[in-house]
Symmetry: C2
Subunit: 444 residues, 2 copies
Amino acid sequence: MEKVDYIICGDYVLTMNGKLDTLRKGAVAVQGARIIDVGAAEAILEKYTPVRLIAGEGRAVLPGFINTHTHAPMVFFRGLADDLPLKDWLEKHIWPAESSLLSPDFVCDATALACLEMAKAGVTTYNDMYFFGSSSALSAKAIGIRAFLGAGIVDFPTMSARNAGEYLKNAEVFINDWKGDDLITPCLAPHSAYACSPETLQKVTALAGRLDVLASIHLAETEWEVGESISRHGKRPLEHLEAIGFLNEKVLAAHCIWLEDSEIGVLAERGVGVSHCIESNLKLASGIAPVPHMLRAGVKVTFGTDGAASNNDLSILSDMSTAAKVHKAITKDPTALDSKTALLMATRWGAEVLGAGDSTGSIEKGKLADIITINLQKPHLAPMYDIYSHIVYAAGASDVDTVVVNGKLIIDGRRPVTCDEEGILLKASEWGKKIAAYNSSHPQ
Amino acid sequence: MEKVDYIICGDYVLTMNGKLDTLRKGAVAVQGARIIDVGAAEAILEKYTPVRLIAGEGRAVLPGFINTHTHAPMVFFRGLADDLPLKDWLEKHIWPAESSLLSPDFVCDATALACLEMAKAGVTTYNDMYFFGSSSALSAKAIGIRAFLGAGIVDFPTMSARNAGEYLKNAEVFINDWKGDDLITPCLAPHSAYACSPETLQKVTALAGRLDVLASIHLAETEWEVGESISRHGKRPLEHLEAIGFLNEKVLAAHCIWLEDSEIGVLAERGVGVSHCIESNLKLASGIAPVPHMLRAGVKVTFGTDGAASNNDLSILSDMSTAAKVHKAITKDPTALDSKTALLMATRWGAEVLGAGDSTGSIEKGKLADIITINLQKPHLAPMYDIYSHIVYAAGASDVDTVVVNGKLIIDGRRPVTCDEEGILLKASEWGKKIAAYNSSHPQ
């Protein structure tokens, strides 16, 4: 019998592979960072001896969730200022606090909290847009979560750089520093067409091409953005990005709410991935993206939580459930976004829009072992008719039991393995006090 | 020092009283079924000696959630048939299964599962519409949850009665059997204006008046219902109910989606309570109720989960969060439904529309002790700026730690005290097999 690091068993194994194979009483064998076999539990247990058997009674095994758009360090602003118009929220609370308190230490401690929350919610990969990426990288690596870290780029000064040229230069250094890491994929994150000039965006395109990295951008999030783009460029935001040659298959656009039919066609044609951030979009009253329409047009739509300040959590399970329900009501069609499609968006497609479709996002031989189990032995998950339905419509973050990323166990029966939860919460509480004090002292 | 059964402490006590008093480091003293004191923890602990101290470090204490509309036994159909048009869902799956398998035993076992799920989600009171109410009552009492049980009334035969006269007769017997019980409040539940003739509804009104009980009804849930009402009665559903004298302050109307402005005025004028079932309405693509508009008009809007077959859970926390977000996007106003209003709808107002505002729904001296604690020591609830925001936007059912109903501890640190969880899950699994077998054998 071959020795392996882990065998992970489950009453159900949802492979999320091309055929959406679902195994009853299945198992996954993990050796090093990779999945080396998937099959019937009985056969796998006969073939391999694991160092650790992760038993599967009452469990579903699935690929970890992919959070394709967030600002992880903003977790420290969760609940700081809710139920406010977007402009007040940003200009009177979030930006002042950020501009005064942001630092590598802030990003390091906040990212630890965000990664712990995400890991416990079954998120094994996330795509970030923020500043001080090396601090994020160190925290994400310490927890053991897979992170695509987009170096934020804007035209105005922040605590991290003074102008577009400096952001771009820093971004290149950051990318060269982290390229090739087993968990961290550095990339670019120009904020938006309203925060970056056409010249800046064209430099981003050139740099992304030269370094072969992903570029994430906010796109068509608010009606204000559309008006602003028309008045500045004479074009809607997406038309403007198309006109300056920004759109290609290595671009991931977050939000994509205010799109006309022809613009959806452009997204599909250019192969741009979309991160749908339904809970943030609802909470900030930004609008509701035309997801069923985008899916029909062949656009690859995935899920992002956005930052915890506007969600207010980092659980993809929750966004997936909300999205699958909301789009039914908006289209008046209960078949608009079914549970299998929703789960694909949350797993394999998420990996694909990050350019990591070959290595993660599904449970297949040879892929990296980014795997979670969900505990089904709960009153709110009984009885059982359809495992996809339960995961999309009934399961919550707290049902995630065990999490393996890159072949390493990071959550074991809900207990964090790689970090000190109490210490992270204590630091969060200390930062919270500083932020609250600043927020109440700042003239609003 | 006075002896009391419980002192429940918390870093925050959200009383949800008329002034929305929120105590830091507060405590509640419980003797028998009632709250006998509320105040600063230090003062309460000096004044009383508890048989059991429920410690409060990292906990919020609040009144239990009120689920104002559900069909608890339908929990056995959770996930049986999702992502289908309403007509197929009901006519090809739910109704055939109900008409073939429904029995007092089914209702007893299903209600046990539903009550356990609700208790663990912090729901201390629910309002049911179903059949075989005495079976529901016994299960709800065994778990120890407060239940308003509406005897279902329709014009067509089901397993529980043959015609309207028989439903009404059974309902009267049921109400007389259970009136005065400390946990069960029997009431009436005519299904809807399309399933009950005007004559049946007028008999319900007379009986409700004579026995002084609540009458719950589905109202304006779908566009189909509006068309049906106009073609049958020449009036929209609410106008029709108003014309036959059905509407008064002892009526609780579920859904209320398809309302015109004038109809919202009638609801307010008649003092009809509303149960808003956002997750069910989204999932069945029924539409989105004009909740901010109803609130502005002075209608008391509360939250219902509806049955688990269309939600797919029985957590008010989840519906509250979804509603607070969705209405912001629909009205394009991030202030549309703020966290304090949402929590009022989920607690005190819920009790008020059930006619139980004097006895439950808030933490006040003299009220029944229906109290929950929420564990705030979790990564997804850090840091802390605003306790209302965290409960509405970030907390989930699994954060509910301890639940007291009628002065009795029923969930203790997430462990059920009054029932055998494993036994309930086992029975659910057995019923699930029967239902699945029937569903796949039944011609669809």
